[in-house]
Symmetry: C4
Subunit: 232 residues, 4 copies
């Protein structure tokens, strides 16, 4: 079932090592079929150079395996919960890309310091609260999804306008309308984290961009008045 979606999810997973976003098996991409309320995800702990489209696992929105000969990613309950709660997203990416992890470990939001950031993220990328002992010891991966959703609700951030989060002490999740856009956003996150790190080391002054620059660059690429790129 979902053969073409499996092939697509396989291809999007294979972009992670090409974009230097993963070490060993530390990353996964999923994509959803909203009609069927199912999503396809990478199997757990399988090396990228051994992966095939047929290894992809089909899961439902509770994280149960519907089809597949391998265990799905251990982060599957996080993906499932986000598909439930963020109804506009079509794909999710989790990595341990090192610059984004550094901000997650430092417990710091990734500030919007320039147009590279503003082109993709309409404001700072938030760091989540740390999971509590109770949240970690039971349903850890689902609770990771709950904490992500709560982060966006508490800060009143639209997850489609800022399509990524830094899970504190852990690392980034990114998403998008499609899995391809989610992978794109995961890479942008890593690049702007690298830029922000060096900017913050050069100057501890707050060099966040003003709202009007955020508006300009974000809406130059998104929404009905976008004029970057080619007409579809």
């Amino acid at each position: 079932m979902l053969e073409s979606l499996k092939k697509y999810v396989y291809e999007q997973n294979m972009r992670l090592p090409k974009l230097n976003l993963v070490t060993f098996t530390w990353g996964n991409v999923s994509a959803v079929d909203r009609d069927k309320q199912l999503f396809v995800i990478k199997p757990s702990g399988v090396a990228y150079d051994e992966l095939t489209p047929d290894d992809m696992v089909v899961c439902d929105f509770e994280g149960n395996v519907v089809e597949g000969h391998l265990n799905p990613s251990s982060d599957t309950p996080t993906h499932a919960y986000l598909y439930q709660k963020f109804p506009k997203i079509g794909g999710i990416v989790h990595t341990h890309s090192p610059w984004a992890v550094s901000f997650a470990q430092a417990g710091m939001d990734l500030p919007a310091l320039g147009t590279t950031h503003a082109d993709t993220f309409y404001g700072p990328v938030p760091v989540s609260e740390a999971l509590t002992k109770e949240e970690i010891e039971s349903d850890y991966e689902k609770n990771t999804g709950i904490v992500i959703e709560r982060t966006f609700k508490d800060h009143q951030i639209d997850p489609m306008a800022v399509p990524a989060v830094l899970v504190r002490q852990h690392g980034p999740f990114a998403w998008g309308e499609t899995a391809a856009k989610a992978v794109y956003n995961a890479k942008v996150l890593e690049v702007v984290a690298q830029m922000a790190y060096h900017t913050l080391q050069l100057t501890r002054n707050d060099s966040s961009v003003p709202q009007y620059l955020l508006d300009k660059h974000y809406y130059r690429k998104h929404g009905k008045d976008a004029y970057y790129g080619q007409k579809k």
Copy 2:
């Protein structure tokens, strides 16, 4: 029209990923035909591995498309304005190369700390003022060109002697007598930004080179008494 210039501009654009100056589509090169008062530029948002010489777009000095089946780079009005105001430049490069962006985001001039810098840039590479709300909300890309020109006028810098700028909160533009030299200058800018960053972290002392070292290295490579390289 301008078929050989299109091929040349295509080739210079393709150097950007090879020199590790771009992520995704975040860069563009243009070159000018001064006789015809036209320039050729990369189309907007097209991936480098899908680009062909035929995709290049011909524009006039107001930034209007004269020929081409694709939209030109969204930065086209910046290029157009710079070709108007800097009459000796033959090519322009814009990238989001991460070390140069870090200085642009920090709002810091890139100081001349050594001979690697002095060989190409006859003094600090200036950071521009931030664009105002009004400048951003109307004719943003043209105003970016205006702010660049103003930066060089206000600081009395010759744009041929310091062929690059850091647009604050945004990133670098570089230029040169030819597009090939502009690409070269864009790469030098990235390398000397990396070196300057680490130097500044090692010592916060002002370690700018003296004027006579700047003279020696810049004129060893430029002007009538240059003796670096081979006679042409």
Copy 3:
């Protein structure tokens, strides 16, 4: 003798340059045959692209060469001592990977700042004491092993739970149940050292993970209740 082990040790050594863990010849992998009380190790100072399985050297637990036409790694007595004292390890890796070396040179434990660390190391990776003048001037490489063992004993760390050490002023040793796992652990060490470095530069606050997160992530991947990856 031990032909298949030689081939295996050769292959594990060849992973070091692929994983960007060595410059020139600065690294070595060994693996043990516990029944025979022998181990196989890379020869000293031979370039990776000239290495063959047949060049591997067989040594006993005193570090004496039992078979081989080349000198074994100068670090052989360290390997020998660790095989004696850490009875559960099957392979050992030594490198001068630059992020791990930076912590070793700074004389700092590598703190557990996130789940990437906790997935592999059940607590901080300790830095050893510096060897004394006497320890350096006689039996230096054996004494390196003695200092490593003492580090784990003094801090009451189980070397199977934290399978790596930073030898002060020198660099990392990693180990594991197999040489393949030791190489894996050596790479994880390098990646988490990079992440920890940047985290510590962003915030000097203690951002070590709590014990319950360490438990969760370490036991998600290790021991009888592990659920990461595929059933063997």
Copy 4:
């Protein structure tokens, strides 16, 4: 003339881009024939991928061209002076490798912080004094050699025991008994500069290694009691 030396110098020059020590044409290697009092050096400003053995230039110890159809490296008078004054060296390398340049620009000696350094450099790699206005404005490249020699004399450093220098505001020169060893030393210099930078950012404490560790590691690899590597 000196055809085999030209081929050798060509090959050693071609190692620089492979070892990631040069951007564009910013590096050169020479090797000497002590009997003939001549040395062979890379031509000035020629791209590495266009270089051929036949392009190499033969010079005497005053820096005059004896044979060659191209201009020699602009740094030729520095090489010539060092061959005069350091009678045991067989090859010289100059690069603008970025970590070494960062220390040169900061005006800081590269301290000996660990065994990776001590294996090759028997103590800190010194930064030279800055050249004076007069030294820069006349015979600049020869004066660079004079300043290097003076640095070693003033600090009573044996150039064979510490086979590299950081020319202040400029960058590294490295040398060795052969050009191949000089290239090796240039790479070690870059790697230990990277490690030292990160160590110094982690701790501003003086973590220089003691004399007895320097002795142990340097003499483990050099001199009559060396036991690293294979017998020749």
